[in-house]
């Protein structure tokens, strides 16, 4: 094995002759605690993301249940106003930032190299660091909550209330710095997804043959690269106002409270698409399997995904309709907000048509994927209603919006995620989730969710404002709130049933083969769970549904799964041309490394120093971060980054 070889003809072998033991040696994570901190295995990182995100989902859920006990009856004093404010703010922050995107990053991280027929993401160490930073920033923000200094101005954190005169404690500082910290994870994760999508695919996987679910994460990632800096900047400006007396939002100088809202919503509106488009992709991926036919309209759905996000950059002002902006601006943003419904119509009817024209097999996964269509429509139309400015002037800041956001978040993120779990759990663990427990899980979640959130449309239409720790009796809101609280607890039981199913099935679930669902995509062509090297020989792809070739009424099988390149001169995988998927390079991939973890430690020290104004600690943290980055980026011979002998 030459370390500085320039070119090679990849060795092609049949799968039966592949050197599996050698590949395992090359790709496996070091055993023991060292391996735990240094692994760059995308499957391991994906599972960590999923588990951590579910923990935050449960934490956020508990916060919600406490609030629902307080709100079940009018004028209760179970919670003080400040406790309630911290609960609703932390609940929002947890669900929207610490659960909703990371869970989708987790599934994408686990699945992408497999569905692309590759061995790893484009940047394995960056992948590890994006997880560690996510974990560290989540802990950072929860430390604040644990010491009674959680965010208390809502997840949207409007100024002037977030400024020091009104909020002197550490609450806003934990939130500001924590969000900047988390933004780093989101950004590097997004960069990884974009480059992986472009380059790390199997030969022959042209752009019209990438699995439909990857369009969702690609779109979300490209958008995040462009909009996360907006919110990071806003939080940085707020932190500066609070620590150093700058005047970004301070009206006593020329500060502008509305600038906060613009910078925040320029980020946060695309963000809400980022947290649903990948999940919609998972529905587009899984639903057809349970309808035993290809998805209706692959190309329209892929285009609609991108169109939604592009339009999504142009609607942020619809969160600001009540701020006194000029009518012309309001008309423009209202029109855009109404029209953005159209790409969603494409996806919804693609799914409906797939069900109608297929043969539905009603598994638990199918139930979650099909029911999300109904929840999507309900959330979508309530969003459409708020898109009309005069109507929004009544609806905004009432429980109608709370109903809307939970229908879209639970309907277009949580339900697809649970469906995805039932669908891909066999691949990740080698065991099936229990179907009977699954049906109980589904029905409690579905009934509970609708019982909890549908009545909120009514309390909103009856004038109940949001973000209130209590409400007066006799305004028509009392019974509705009681029903909502009961529904919330039923929904929580449903979530518990899911966790129970996972725990029970991990040990005793039915053993799954490589492809228990007879699904079409590449991840089902390898064992369950996959080996560390994903594929013993790398597949070559000839169609959109490699494992269904020959059964779709098309020409004879065109993909090559039974034989392919073995690429075993170290950790290697292909890089292809972005559009046609022609093989371009043999990429040398980095192995396990402590640098990502150490970098995160340095960054955590840095942010910790900033929040308590121990500038020496902040500087030391920054220095450690820089050092870790230098070690990480140092050119290595075995990664073919250093000049070979004899050339000059």
């Amino acid at each position: 094995m030459t370390v500085s070889e320039i070119e090679r003809v990849p060795e092609i072998l049949p799968v039966s002759a592949a050197p599996r033991r050698e590949l395992e040696e090359i790709w496996k994570t070091k055993p023991g605690i060292g391996g735990w901190f240094s692994t760059v295995d995308h499957k391991e990182i994906g599972k960590r993301y999923i588990v951590t995100a579910f923990i935050f989902l449960v934490l956020g859920g508990v916060e919600a249940l406490i609030m629902r006990v307080q709100l079940a009856r009018p004028e209760q004093s179970l919670l003080t106003p400040e406790q309630y404010n911290q609960l609703f703010s932390t609940h929002g922050m947890t669900m929207i930032f610490l659960y909703a995107l990371p869970i989708l990053s987790g599934f994408s991280n686990y699945l992408w190299p497999l569905i692309f027929g590759s061995r790893d993401m484009a940047f394995p160490r960056l992948n590890a660091v994006s997880y560690w930073i996510y974990l560290a920033s989540g802990i950072f923000m929860y430390v604040g909550f644990a010491i009674g200094a959680g965010p208390d101005d809502g997840w949207f954190n409007y100024v002037p209330y977030a400024e020091r005169p009104y909020n002197p404690g550490l609450n806003m500082d934990f939130y500001s710095l924590g969000m900047i910290f988390l933004g780093i994870s989101t950004t590097v994760g997004s960069a990884n997804f974009v480059v992986t999508f472009l380059l790390n695919r199997a030969p022959g996987m042209s752009l019209n043959r990438v699995p439909i679910m990857s369009w969702g994460t690609l779109t979300a990632s490209a958008a995040n690269l462009l909009v996360v800096p907006s919110v990071s900047l806003a939080f940085f400006m707020l932190w500066m106002d609070r620590q150093f007396g700058t005047h970004f939002f301070d009206v006593s100088q020329q500060g502008q409270p509305l600038l906060w809202q613009h910078l925040f919503w320029i980020f946060a509106h695309p963000w809400v698409y980022a947290i649903v488009l990948p999940a919609m992709g998972m529905v587009s991926e899984g639903l057809p399997v349970f309808c035993r036919r290809p998805l209706v309209g692959y190309t329209p759905v892929a285009l609609a995904t991108v169109a939604t996000m592009i339009l999504g950059f142009g609607v942020w002002v619809h969160h600001m309709f009540a701020t006194g902006l000029p009518t012309l601006a309001l008309s423009f943003f209202s029109s855009a907000s109404i029209l953005i419904t159209l790409p969603s119509v494409v996806s919804v009817f693609a799914w409906i048509a797939t069900i109608w024209l297929g043969r539905p097999v009603i598994t638990t996964a199918f139930l979650f994927f099909a029911s999300m269509i109904v929840l999507f429509v309900i959330g979508g139309v309530s969003g459409f209603m708020t898109g009309s400015v005069p109507v929004d002037w009544q609806l905004t800041d009432t429980y109608f919006v709370v109903a809307h956001i939970h229908y879209v978040l639970i309907g277009i993120n949580v339900f697809p995620v649970v469906g995805a779990l039932y669908f891909w759990f066999p691949k990740m663990t080698g065991r099936m989730l229990d179907e009977r427990l699954g049906k109980w899980n589904f029905w409690t979640m579905f009934v509970g969710m609708n019982l909890a959130f549908f009545p909120m449309h009514l309390s909103g239409l009856f004038g109940m404002p949001r973000r209130v720790y209590t409400y007066p009796a006799g305004l028509g809101w009392d019974t509705i709130n009681l029903i909502v609280s009961i529904g919330a607890f039923l929904f929580a039981i449903g979530v518990l049933l899911l966790l129970a199913n996972v725990l029970v099935s991990l040990r005793g679930g039915r053993v799954a083969g490589a492809n228990p669902w007879d699904a079409p995509s590449l991840e089902w062509a390898t064992s369950s769970p996959p080996p560390s090297y994903n594929f013993a020989v790398l597949p070559e792809v000839g169609s959109l549904y490699p494992l269904w070739e020959g059964r779709l009424g098309d020409a004879a099988a065109r993909s090559s799964l039974a034989e392919g390149a073995v690429l075993d001169h170290g950790r290697e995988t292909f890089s292809v041309t972005p559009l046609e998927g022609m093989p371009d390079l043999i990429l040398k991939m980095p192995g396990d490394s402590y640098a990502p973890f150490i970098l995160t430690v340095g960054m955590s020290a840095g942010f910790s120093g900033l929040i308590v104004h121990w500038w020496w600690l902040a500087a030391a943290g920054a220095a450690l971060t820089a050092l870790a980055m230098i070690v990480w980026l140092w050119p290595e011979r075995k990664l073919a980054q250093i000049a070979g002998a004899g050339y000059g």
Partner: protein, 199 residues
Amino acid sequence: MVDTASAHGRALTVGAIARRGTGWWGLLTVIATEAALFVYLLFSYFYYDVQFGRGWLPDPPSFRYSLPNTIILVASNIAAWVAARGIQRGGRGRLVVGILVALLLGVAFCVLQVLEWRSLTYTLNANTYSSVYFTTGGFHLAHVVVGVLILLLLLLWSVLGYFDRLRHTPVLIGTAYWHFVLAVWLAVFFSFYVTPYLW
């Protein structure tokens, strides 16, 4: 039958060469996201400007330091470009000299920038203008410092003989980042120093 996009029998390059490979594309995503940051900073500046109209500026900032500094940064970028072209043709000498010149000029930029700030009558928290001026300039200077660090590493790696006609992707990545830093400076310079005279 496998169609033409196949690895069968084809000799493929191993590892990144020039701008092929994941590293270069990774840099492009970094540039996209950092450029977005400066877009939002300048958006904030112009938002304040539009809200207040003329007169929110104390005095327009002076060209005394900023114009020479612009020339210094452009010169530094030319040196970096020469260095990159050099190694693409196998010229190790040009690489080292180019990077060294770019590095020294980059340090000069930092020094002049700090001197300019110290010459100003207002501090960070004097008013909204000063807040956005120093924050934007500060973010840019931070990117320059990172760029200087990158040039230093490239210099070290060049001297250690890591790069040749084939393997020099870090040089392309590092110098491209430096060009990006210049582009940001030109946008910042235009917005803060030139537009006050335009309207």
